[in-house]
Symmetry: C2
Subunit: 255 residues, 2 copies
């Protein structure tokens, strides 16, 4: 039996995830499946209304048959009454992103080797909350945008530019040539994350995989290296991301 890999990424579930997707990007949705005999709450009602408005097919069915499309970790999670088949998230072209005119300074995150889908989804959710402009991931050593990422992000994958690249070092070189500042999170650095200024500049924060950290090539290209003070092991990468990203938001708010 052939089971193409895409079948894993082509279903999403959960009220918030489906709602955010149909609001932001209805064209991604091919069909919506509601649980048999379900009582619609407000969010499910809105999903149903938006489905009608966008001429998206709706079917009532037993959702158990969708278990096979989701990874082991997700099987315990209830679908919250709704599953949708979707086209994959579209990646954004880096040059297009870079050359887009913007009246404000832009802020992005670069992930070097973050392969855990829960961390990747949590990071995307935080970046959407903080109105960051994009996240850049390498083609290899990164996590595909599967149903776990879409669910953990609460649908935030539809709110933020996701850029995939063959070469993080050349992306960083291009950013630097275009007057972006490069900030690398590195447990060995002297400066704390709150010792530098994030104001009045385009900047990229690079985060590495837990344990391994950021590759030396990227680390050497950074304008600033920062650490989060810790009296225990290093922090989880999605917690570290939230802390640094929101320090930049605080500084920009408190100008």
């Amino acid at each position: 039996m052939k089971k193409p890999y895409e079948s894993i990424t082509n279903y999403i579930y959960g009220k918030n995830t489906v709602f955010e997707t149909i609001c932001q990007n209805p064209k991604r949705i091919n069909k919506i499946y509601f649980s048999d005999g379900i009582n619609f709450d407000n969010k499910l009602k809105k999903i149903n209304e938006l489905a009608q408005k966008n001429s998206i097919l709706v079917q009532f069915t037993n959702l158990n048959k969708f278990y096979k499309y989701f990874s082991g970790a997700d099987k315990k999670i209830i679908f919250q009454g709704v599953v949708a088949s979707v086209s994959p998230v579209e990646y954004i072209d880096f040059d297009e992103f870079l050359n887009k005119k913007s009246n404000t300074y832009r802020k992005i995150v670069i992930l070097d080797g973050v392969e855990d889908p829960h961390n990747f989804g949590a990071i995307i959710r935080t970046l959407a909350a903080a109105s960051f402009d994009a996240v850049i991931i390498p083609k290899h050593r990164s996590c595909p945008i599967n149903s776990t990422v879409e669910k953990t992000s609460c649908g935030a994958v539809n709110h933020i530019c996701i850029i995939k690249t063959n070469s993080l070092p050349s992306i960083v070189d291009t950013l630097k040539k275009n007057n972006w500042w490069i900030i690398a999170a590195d447990g060995q650095s002297k400066d704390n994350y709150f010792d530098i200024s994030y104001k009045d500049m385009n900047f990229a924060i690079i985060l590495g995989a837990e344990g391994e950290g950021i590759s030396k090539t990227l680390l050497n290209k950074a304008d600033f290296k920062i650490k989060i003070p810790s009296n225990f092991e290093s922090l989880n990468v999605s917690a570290a991301c939230a802390i640094i990203v929101y320090e930049s938001i605080r500084q920009i708010h408190q100008m």
Copy 2:
């Protein structure tokens, strides 16, 4: 076949988790199981040395038999060559904690209804990194300290006081009587989390479950209500915890 609930909580796995536990609290460990025919790396070597030093039994075996003790979500995770049978984490008595003399101001987190073990473990890891003094959870509507919590916390459950209570409101009343300040995270508040000062005081940060938030009774007792500005849905509770906790650390560092 009787399978007592304790059997779920009595095994931990993973190099960092077992290492932190044997360093901080060797008496918790009853026996250590290494994977058959494993090549010891530095961390496993240290665990083995500490086991000898503390007279802890060691056995080499096929670790697959331990799968049944861990929940579905964990089955995909490799044990990293080591599993240990442990006594449960000991809860700390609230009065004992409160009356302990301290030369510095103390900081704690109160969790109102955080039931997801990954979030609970991630929060404990962040609190250990930030040298917080304790986390308080209600007896009902909270997550037991099971193997998922121990693993997600990277063994940080051994580094921080965990206090369980029948009544969060009476704990908060007692803290207030003892001149602690109560800070509640509430999406509806006017103040941002960086608008208040965390310096020169004992304080407790209350965080609620995602969606539901903090109960009204607790919210009404708070001295400060704070929000994290977001242009998307509310943040994940462990991300929110990391952001607020580290804002307090930043302020105390930058005195």
